[in-house]
């Protein structure tokens, strides 16, 4: 054999998906995926409610002077927590949380056999302090938000409710011209809005992307060669143009920023702009964003309709004490994306001992060619314990979700370790937040992203 074309033709004909027809997957799979997380949140709420009912019934069961004692005990006991934390959001909504590190697979799917141990470095401060807690409160109304965003992007049409995912706690709407129940027809731009949490909206323009055309078909009329897109950087906005437009859009949709607050990220394939909500001078992970596709047209954008309401000042623990919280996923919070940008290129740990490198790097180019090998016969694959020493800390505002689907901004510590990575933990003293039960932990199941010996 056989030149490249012949090999390609032979491979195409041997594609298993031709003979073994792929089943059509329904969108219900996506709905179920989302609901699988919400079920845990409902369970967490039920257990909290059960605990509250038990406390109440105990009070009613005691009679006479004993009841007076019970009341006195309630009056002199600790105040109720300000926030009841959601179990599911803490475990899954924080991409770089302590949970992700403990999961061992969230970022490093090829190196799953790891446990992490955290030590405090010598320079961490043991000073306690205090910080303001904010609740993010939705502003305006769904209709007004959609109409405003539609005006900004020149979208015509009307407002509709989504057929699914609509319930009292999480109503969803869209605005556009399509008759599709989801507002998507592949031809018209659409704006969507979910009236819960931070009331996030999203603009999407399906015709902003280049169309793929078939260049070659086989004898049966099946396409064998699709257009290979080339970048068209000449169509993209310049840095200045992107900044000016992003400033206009972000300000018009409720985010008061200046050009210096906007980050531009560009390649020959497209341009993206981001800016985050700042509260009391601190960046948060509540972001506005927009992007231009390779055609130079705005293809997507998103933002929120929310304002931060101060809920009081509470005491906080020291950075030194916070190191212990890295091992408990319930204390994790989401920091501003700027922290991920700073630490994005850091390599977390040395490869596990069962990895080896292969291939030869080209001249002047470092390549990642690590691959797994079989362990020696009879050798058990034991998890490797990696010790991370926290060397530095920075105060930051972290976002967390409560059991009612509301978002809060709370004081936290960014704890930077000796591998150049970080964990973000809430720094409020115990008692301000009611944590979910530790048994409600839901890191990803071991059989999904981790290598598991079943």
């Amino acid at each position: 054999m056989t030149n490249n074309d012949e090999l390609d033709q032979r491979l195409l004909k041997a594609d298993p998906a031709i003979k073994r027809t792929a089943p059509e997957l329904s969108e219900g799979i996506l709905a179920s995926a989302i609901a699988s997380e919400n079920k845990l949140s409902i369970r967490a709420r039920f257990e909290l409610l059960s605990q509250n009912l038990k406390r109440a019934s105990l009070g009613f069961a005691v009679g006479g002077s004993a009841a007076a004692v019970a009341v006195a005990m309630v009056l002199t006991s600790a105040p109720a927590p300000l926030i009841q934390l959601s179990a599911s959001m803490q475990a899954s909504g924080n991409p770089r949380s302590a949970t992700a590190e403990m999961d061992g697979g969230a970022d490093k799917m090829m190196m799953p056999f790891m446990n992490f141990e955290y030590l405090a470095g010598p320079n961490l401060s043991d000073e306690t302090g205090s910080g303001q807690v904010y609740k993010l409160v939705r502003q305006s109304s769904p209709r007004e938000v959609l109409q405003n965003v539609a005006a900004v992007f020149g979208v015509e049409g009307s407002m509709n409710k989504y057929p699914d995912f609509n319930n009292e706690t999480n109503p969803g709407y869209f605005f556009g011209q399509s008759n599709d129940p989801w507002g998507y027809d592949g031809k018209n731009p659409v704006i969507s809005l979910w009236w819960s949490g931070t009331a996030s909206w999203n603009y999407s323009n399906p015709i902003a992307y280049p169309e793929s055309t078939c260049e070659e078909t086989d004898a049966d009329g099946n396409c064998t060669t699709w257009t290979e897109f080339q970048p068209t950087p000449e169509l993209l906005p310049s840095q200045e143009e992107a900044l000016a437009k992003a400033l206009e859009v972000f300000n018009a949709t409720g985010l008061n920023v200046s050009e210096s607050d906007i980050r531009i990220d560009s390649s020959e394939w497209g341009v993206n702009a981001y800016a985050s909500l700042e509260v009391d001078g601190q960046p948060t992970n509540v972001e506005w964003y927009m992007g231009w596709s390779s055609t130079g047209v705005i293809s997507y954008a998103g933002g929120h309709s929310v304002a931060a309401e101060a809920m009081g000042t509470y005491n906080t623990i020291s950075a030194l004490a916070a190191v212990d919280r890295l091992s408990d996923w319930r204390w994790s919070g989401s920091p501003s994306g700027s922290f991920y940008q700073r630490f994005q290129s850091s390599v977390m740990v040395e490869p596990a001992p069962y990895l080896r490198t292969d291939d030869v790097a080209t001249e002047g180019e470092a390549t990642d060619t690590s691959e797994l090998i079989d362990p020696a016969p009879g050798e058990q694959i034991e998890p490797e314990t990696v010790t991370l020493t926290v060397l530095e800390s920075e105060a930051a505002l972290l976002s967390i979700w409560d059991a009612n689907g509301e978002v809060w901004l709370v004081p936290g510590w960014i704890l930077i370790n000796d591998q150049g990575w970080f964990g973000a933990v809430i720094s409020l003293i115990e008692g301000v937040i009611e944590l979910p039960k530790e048994t409600d932990i839901m890191p990803l199941p071991a059989d999904d992203t981790d290598v598991s010996n079943k």
């Binding site: 998906a17 995926a33 997380e37 799917m109």
Partner: protein, 156 residues
């Protein structure tokens, strides 16, 4: 990312994920495995790289397939648990259409099969395939070239 954004973004990728899975597993298992893929994608939605969502889904799907295969194999053999992860269509999958190609395919290692399948079957560019494997495009190009050379040699 809201539920609506997630659905809008990923509904268009359902056919590709179905095809990816049916190339590697029994058709009867595709729906269950696809459910696992999107459950993980939802939980890790904040990590999805903008513009490379399909490559990211393929990466998740690869691990779901590999662990599914391990689960099936480990029921038969304890030692099978320690085999390297295998993300590509198997020789048996290829044999449906081309027996001699299947034999040549079986002589490739899992990483070579993976490189060829991502480009030849999933139709990814070298850049996107490199994203799936989280290696540099240059490293992927080398791996693919070597894999194709080995496959041609095995067919000769």
């Amino acid at each position: 990312m809201s539920p609506e954004e997630f659905t809008t973004l990923y509904r268009g990728l359902l056919p590709q994920i179905s095809s990816y899975l049916v190339r590697r597993c029994d058709r009867a298992d595709v729906e269950e495995l696809a459910s696992r893929v999107f459950e993980i994608a939802w939980r890790k939605r904040a990590q999805a790289p903008k513009g490379f969502e399909l490559a990211w889904l393929y990466r998740i799907a690869g691990f779901v397939v590999a662990n599914h295969r391990r689960a099936l194999n480990s029921e038969k053999s304890f030692v099978a648990r320690f085999k390297p992860l295998d993300f590509a269509p198997s020789p048996e999958d290829i044999a449906i259409a081309d027996l001699s190609l299947s034999k040549a395919w079986s002589k490739l290692n899992p990483f070579e099969r993976q490189a060829i399948s991502l480009t030849a079957f999933e139709g990814l560019s070298n850049q996107d395939a490199a994203k799936v494997l989280e290696i540099s495009p240059n490293a992927f190009t080398q791996r693919l070239a070597k894999a194709r050379a080995n496959l041609r040699a095995n067919l000769s």
